[in-house]
Point group: C2
Chain length 328, copies 2
């Protein structure tokens, strides 16, 4: 049971700002989540409209816990794109269609609380590293499989962001020259081979060509509503075709993990995101076996390849970690 | 003109121990090379036989410069494999067929001078970083294309070696799942697509199948003697087929560079090794263009992608840097 948050003057808020939904969580200083709120992003309303919703989601999370905004000392936000962390600006976020949005400044003006902004995959990585693994891994890579694929890198126990602050864009690592087309314009990216989007496209294309799958029955004509959980359910119901597609995705993920082991040789690789959360049992053993197959002899020894338990909360937890770090 | 080395009591020696040849260089403290010696490795003689030759090569280099071994304060050696740098042991070097060889101990006993050992690609990377680029790049990746492909990583201005001390094994990054077979047992590694070995195999296979190339005329039946320089000569003589194969190798190298930019986002990427030394003019423009094509928008901006000028001397220069660093 968390300490009495109702009386604490030291609360933190983590926000996960995604292309489709906003998630806000109130945390105590020990990173226990006290209360949460969630709403749709409505990116089509533009930056001002979305920022207004982020502020509302934060107020809702505070209210949900019978708390007061005055008890909150800092807010950490993960945004889906390239971030100027020093100034808290979102440089470019394709899913939000944002260019140079001063997120920190706008929210601080509205809420009167210090705000810190990071890339969404980086924030998930620091959430897993500090809250889930107690800051123990010295060199760690986080890989998050959802609609797309992103990652974050910890080197010498610190977030590593590189020259253009874009390090960890591992979803666009080429694994298969000439392979399937990716949203980024190239072919054969890890994301185009193993993300939820890639899995869905492969299933949908095959279904159109007459491949039998229980998903046709489960979803009717509403293929656009397909979720990672539906894949798990289809496999549980004995759908060998869906199982094969998910296993292929796990194999590609294992090859990506091997590439990271060969190049960076971290002590820990953590897999997360909706696809892993829903299909850990179907995917992790294959990912680990494939990674060991493809990593050069001796390079993968004793490296931990694990699934995060934080699930959907990785982002808000990382937001709270970011806020705590900047305030201490 | 270097300071008068003949009177210096502060000389350093760098050694590049390869599978086929040993190169030793004497350096002053400003990293000017004073004299050199070279001999074949003769790996078939076993570890003791090779170590005896390394010591002889060092003595020859000293003698070549009319110097005395007593003037040498430290020796840095690059070995082609996994190295326990703390104890100066070569854990595993496939090209030498070495397992757990106490290189430091054996040479120190023979020569009476402190010896420091590193992986060969790491030593080339620190040589380029410190001697060629004045230590300026904060985060840098070195990629060396020779018979095989290896690399080294500098993070926060220091050599980064990772959990199993094997970081930088970028030659075994998978770029093309199901692609050509690699010496490591996998398929589609960068090394199997773009190394000198890969280029030679592709040319030789095509020649056997009737492809016309001036190399048939240049080499007769001695395909095993083919060198990177022969490729350059064939291209200069208008051989479009050889040109195309070399360009393909440059394209794969550009894709590997893009993967590194997406993942690690270093400020500087340096290409080196025999293939680049001989064919910089044919390859670098293609490598840079392909890297920019494949790197995610915004990630490659202002990143330096350059060819090293050190050529064959990168290893011995890095050895001298390693010795200087450990002695200061």
């Amino acid at each position: 049971m968390p300490e009495a948050a109702s009386k604490s003057e030291n609360l933190l808020i983590g926000v996960d700002l995604g292309g489709t939904k906003i998630l806000a969580g109130v945390f105590d200083r020990s990173l226990n989540c006290v209360s949460q709120a969630k709403m749709t992003t409505k990116a089509q309303r533009g930056a001002d409209g979305v920022i207004e919703r982020v502020a509302r989601c934060i107020r809702d999370a505070v209210d949900e816990g019978d708390l007061d905004l005055k008890q909150v000392k800092g807010i950490g936000i993960g945004a889906p794109g390239a971030v100027d962390t020093e100034n808290g600006k979102v440089i470019f976020a394709p899913n939000l269609q944002w260019h140079d949005v001063p997120l920190k400044k706008a929210l601080e003006k509205d809420l009167g609380i210090p705000v810190f902004v990071e890339n969404d995959c980086n924030i998930c990585t620091i959430g897993v590293h500090e809250a889930e693994l107690g800051g123990k891994p010295k060199n760690m890579v986080g890989i998050f499989l959802g609609t797309g694929i992103g990652g974050g890198i910890i080197i010498n126990s610190k977030l590593y962001s590189g020259f253009n602050k874009t390090a960890g864009e591992l979803g666009h690592m080429i694994l298969e020259v000439g392979g399937p087309k990716c949203g980024c314009g190239n072919r054969g990216c890890f994301e185009a081979l193993a993300s939820r989007g890639a899995i869905f496209r492969r299933i949908q294309t095959a279904a159109k060509e007459g491949q039998k799958t229980v998903l046709t029955e489960m979803l009717g004509d509403n293929w656009d509503d397909m979720k990672s959980g539906d894949l798990r359910k289809a496999i549980k119901r004995g759908d060998k075709f869906v199982e094969k597609v998910v296993e292929e995705s796990a194999e590609y993920t294992g090859i990506a993990v091997a590439n990271i082991i060969n190049l960076l040789n971290p002590d820990t690789i953590v897999l997360g995101g909706g696809v892993i959360e829903q299909m850990e049992d179907q995917m992790m053993a294959i990912i680990i076996e494939t990674a060991h197959d493809y990593a050069l002899d001796g390079t993968a020894e004793n490296i931990e390849i694990i699934a995060s338990k934080l699930g959907d909360s990785a982002g808000i937890t990382g937001g709270a970690v970011l806020a705590r770090r900047n305030l201490s």
